[in-house]
């Protein structure tokens, strides 16, 4: 489709570059996983891995799904759903985690 909204979209070359970035990030993730197995990174492990995942997540949504280039209405609904889900389930898990400790 050649409608005006697509004009700003990245070119195939850029898509390839983004893919390389994604691949590298994945490789780093796996590397961190193995490093952590041998040298305990403690909480760093969790934080780093979550950050990397978030980065990949944002890149795919922003560039491959073109959310960056869409009307803000769309991103608002979509991120709304994401934030709602994260918040709700965090609370649920907190509540249940405590129960788990008490329940043994």
């Amino acid at each position: 489709m050649s409608s005006p909204e697509h004009i700003h979209h990245p070119s195939p070359a850029q898509y390839w570059k983004i893919a390389v970035v994604l691949a590298v990030l994945t490789a780093v993730e796996v590397a961190i996983y193995y490093i952590h197995r041998d040298f305990d990174l403690g909480h760093f492990n969790t934080v780093l891995l979550l950050l990397l995942a978030a980065l990949k997540f944002v890149i795919v949504i922003g560039w491959y799904m073109h959310l960056r280039f869409e009307k803000s209405t769309l991103s608002r609904f979509f991120t709304g759903g994401f934030i709602l889900a994260s918040a709700l389930y965090t609370i649920v898990l907190t509540a249940l985690g405590v129960i788990a400790i008490r329940g043994g």
């Binding site: 129960i99 008490r102 329940g103 043994g104």
Partner: protein
């Protein structure tokens, strides 16, 4: 027009009568043994003290809103010759007022609520522990210090805090003695706590409040609060085993039925003579312990004996066919003969 106003008046009268009736029975909530309005201990009282102010706030809001509706309808009714309305679109000032005022009222309610939640949740350090296990459809009580187990009637000392540590053997149950505290779930695989305290000796009624299957409605509870001295005596008597009937005793025949009619598969009885005791492992399927059966004034999930029924008659009804009294009961119909039942009753009645 006039006619429908008349109807309104009539309706008003009706509402008034209903309220009046309500008020009357408020006074007579004594013969309602499950009432929440007669707290008998500090925990229930704390809740009661929290309920009433909130209730009166609610009444005030109720009167305000209903009053405004009635006034508006009477004042601004479209009558012949009434003018068209001014086209008001709103008022920021009012808007702010009726956002802030409720918010303040609620903040006022929130503070004592939060305090009470924290005060009422965790058991005190000196509380006597009673372990409560929910079964479809009866409550089991275990006193870990005294190492005794009983059912349906929870005996506690008056004036002392009891900490109920609760779990369930099957599905969710919900333990509730309205005069002593609110409810708490019994969750299989988890432990929950409930603080109980009765200031005066007496009998307090309760009920399983969470739907727990077919006979949830027949899963009731009693708490018996005793003077501390009596309580200690009770503990001692419960710790003793039952007397083993010997041939010739009037109870002997019933005991034989117990031994021979599968009762021993489910019911623990501890005898003075330990070697005769029949103990069901706690993780096996079990029914209420019968060692001191006759020391309890109610049985079978506190539904028997029914109003005006003697315990003997109630036992007769129960042993004849438990599921017909309590649908789905896990105590099956054992096809006992009348003679066997009578014999069992004699034996069971002897187990004080």
């Amino acid at each position: 027009m006039a006619r429908s106003r008349l109807r309104l008046v009539r309706l008003g009268a009706l509402v008034a009568v209903t309220l009046l009736l309500g008020a009357c029975s408020l006074i007579s909530s004594e013969d309602q043994p499950l009432t929440t309005f007669e707290p008998a201990g500090p925990f229930a009282e704390r809740i009661d003290n929290l309920f009433w102010p909130v209730f009166w706030i609610a009444v005030a809001v109720f009167v305000l809103v209903q009053g405004a509706i009635l006034v508006a309808v009477f004042l601004y009714r479209d009558r012949d010759g009434s003018k068209e309305a001014k086209q008001l679109h709103g008022s920021p000032k009012l808007e702010i007022a009726w956002t802030i005022i409720p918010a303040l009222i609620l903040a006022g309610i929130a503070v004592p609520t939060t305090a009470a939640v924290f005060d009422l949740t965790e058991c005190g350090p000196d509380a006597i522990e009673v372990q409560v296990t929910g079964h479809q459809w009866w409550f089991e009580y275990h006193y870990p210090d005294a190492e005794i187990t009983t059912a349906n009637v929870m005996v506690i000392p008056a004036g002392q805090e009891v900490c109920a540590r609760m779990t369930s053997d099957d599905v969710l149950h919900n333990f509730w003695i309205p005069a002593l505290n609110g409810k708490r779930y019994l969750v299989p695989g988890q432990t929950t706590e409930l603080r109980l305290q009765a200031d005066q000796p007496g009998e307090y009624w309760g009920h399983c409040a969470e739907f727990c299957g077919l006979s949830h409605s027949l899963m009731r509870a009693r708490v018996q609060a005793l003077e501390p001295a009596e309580y200690n005596a009770w503990l001692a008597s419960q710790q003793a085993g039952a007397t083993l009937p010997v041939e010739g005793d009037p109870e002997y025949e019933g005991y034989q039925v117990y031994l021979n009619k599968q009762c021993i598969q489910c019911h623990t009885v501890r005898f003075e003579d330990d070697s005769a005791s029949n103990i069901i492992a706690t993780d096996a399927f079990n029914g209420p312990e019968l060692t001191h059966f006759a020391s309890r004034n109610v049985f079978a999930g506190a539904i028997l004996p029914g109003e005006g029924q003697s315990r003997g008659d109630a036992l007769k009804e129960w042993l004849d066919d438990p599921p017909s009294t309590k649908p789905g009961s896990f105590m099956p119909d054992l096809a006992l003969t009348e003679a066997e039942i009578d014999a069992l009753i004699v034996w069971l009645e002897s187990m004080e």
